[in-house]
């Protein structure tokens, strides 16, 4: 076994286990054992398990992003210091100082590389599981040869195999051999959907969930460029990857989109437009928001002073005439 195979082995095992478990579940619920849709739903189930496991990390990131409000003045100071300096060295010095500030104040808003590091091998593991299944080869673990055969020959809409990609069909079309139009259409549709979901996610963040300080930073500009560069990346990968892997990616993108929507709605970045919208929404319901973003339910105003005890005789005098 080569090095990469050794690293991927436990992940492939896990991916196979989840796929087989979901496949067992769906086929027992009455779906076709060999149907493409059953396998696609199994891939969707795999994504849901993986992304749900990453929720705690995401929540932690959101919480530290909230704390950013406390260091906003210091952050602004750094940004003012480097205002208008566009050369590489100033930019680097600025990132350096910003990072140091985050560390000093314990407000690092970045999520770390771990979630990516976890997801990428899962992605590759799925890729290689699909690749093996294509040749109806049994996997390393729970995916035995009969399941692998079922997975490998599963098709969508009658004749689009999950292991096929746009590129393979394109090659055979160029070569004048028979090719599969369904695969090409599905792949193209998924590229469009993936681009759309990624676009919406980014647009949500950029247009609603950014504080004015961030909008003024060079990071923002870079993100803007990415917004228009991503469709290209998706187009390239969408051509090369098999449909099954594309389904993983697409589901993951949709999950991110929904997660981002909920976060922007319920825990927006302080100072952003989404935060203002949320305050208005809550104000209409008669609730206020504390500076850390928590909702305070407004209670009836209490009487400012306690009633002084009064002697019976005086009480009579005070209340007497009014009666």
């Amino acid at each position: 076994m080569d090095l990469l195979g050794t690293i991927l082995w436990p992940l492939k095992w896990g991916v196979e286990l989840l796929l087989v478990a979901f496949h067992w579940l769906f086929s027992n619920l009455g779906m076709g054992y060999n149907d493409g849709i059953t396998w696609v739903l199994s891939i969707v189930g795999l994504v849901i398990v993986v992304r749900a496991a990453l929720i705690p990390i995401f929540v932690k990131q959101i919480k530290s992003q909230r704390k950013m409000l406390e260091v906003a003045p210091q952050l602004k100071k750094i940004q003012d210091k480097y205002k208008g300096k566009k050369d590489q060295f100033s930019r680097e010095a600025m990132s350096r100082e910003t990072m140091e500030l985050y560390k000093r104040t314990g407000t690092n808003p970045l999520s770390s590389c771990l979630p990516l590091l976890l997801q990428m091998p899962i992605f590759f593991a799925l890729f290689s599981v699909l690749n093996d299944a294509q040749r109806s080869q049994a996997g390393v673990g729970p995916l035995n040869s009969s399941l692998a055969k079922s997975f490998g020959s599963a098709t969508l809409f009658g004749d689009a195999p999950l292991h096929d990609s746009f590129a393979t069909q394109w090659t055979s079309m160029i070569a004048g051999n028979p090719f599969n139009v369904a695969v090409m259409i599905i792949a193209a549709t998924m590229v469009v959907l993936m681009t759309a979901s990624q676009f919406i996610t980014q647009l949500q963040i950029v247009s609603k969930n950014m504080s004015p300080e961030t909008k003024a930073s060079p990071m923002f500009k870079q993100q803007r460029i990415m917004l228009y560069l991503l469709p290209l990346v998706f187009a390239f990968s969408g051509v090369a990857f098999p449909l099954g892997v594309m389904f993983y990616w697409l589901t993951s993108n949709v999950w991110t989109m929904i997660q981002q929507f909920l976060v922007i709605r319920n825990m927006p970045t302080p100072g952003s437009e989404a935060a203002k919208a949320r305050e208005e929404r809550l104000a209409r319901k008669g609730k206020l928001i504390a500076t850390d973003g928590d909702v305070i339910v407004v209670e009836e105003p209490k009487k400012p002073q306690r009633q002084q005890p009064i002697a019976k005789s005086r009480a009579k005098k005070q209340t007497g005439p009014k009666k």
């Binding site: 990132s95 314990g106 990516l116 993100q223 990346v233």
Partner: protein
Amino acid sequence: MNRAIATVLLFPRNGGVVLLRAYRAVISPLYGDVCRYYPSCSAYALGAVQEHGLVVGSGLAARRLARCHPWAEGGIDDVPLKRKRRYTVTPFGFVVAPSHGKG
């Protein structure tokens, strides 16, 4: 003569540089800023491979990736520099033996 040897010796790390540059150009931007350190993990990996070569550099990069988890404090974490630095880096990031001096 020395330059030719250096070119051969530097070949593996320059291969690594090409791979890392490609990653930073194509895949890194997909995720935006995520790293809790400065320089980011991929920038650190690039710097480590340039400074220490493919094997040691990859080891340093792996150690850094292990440090970059959500419970880490983050902050500034530069590549440790060699005491004696004999190579220069081109704008693209290739490591070359300096063209002047005794080599």
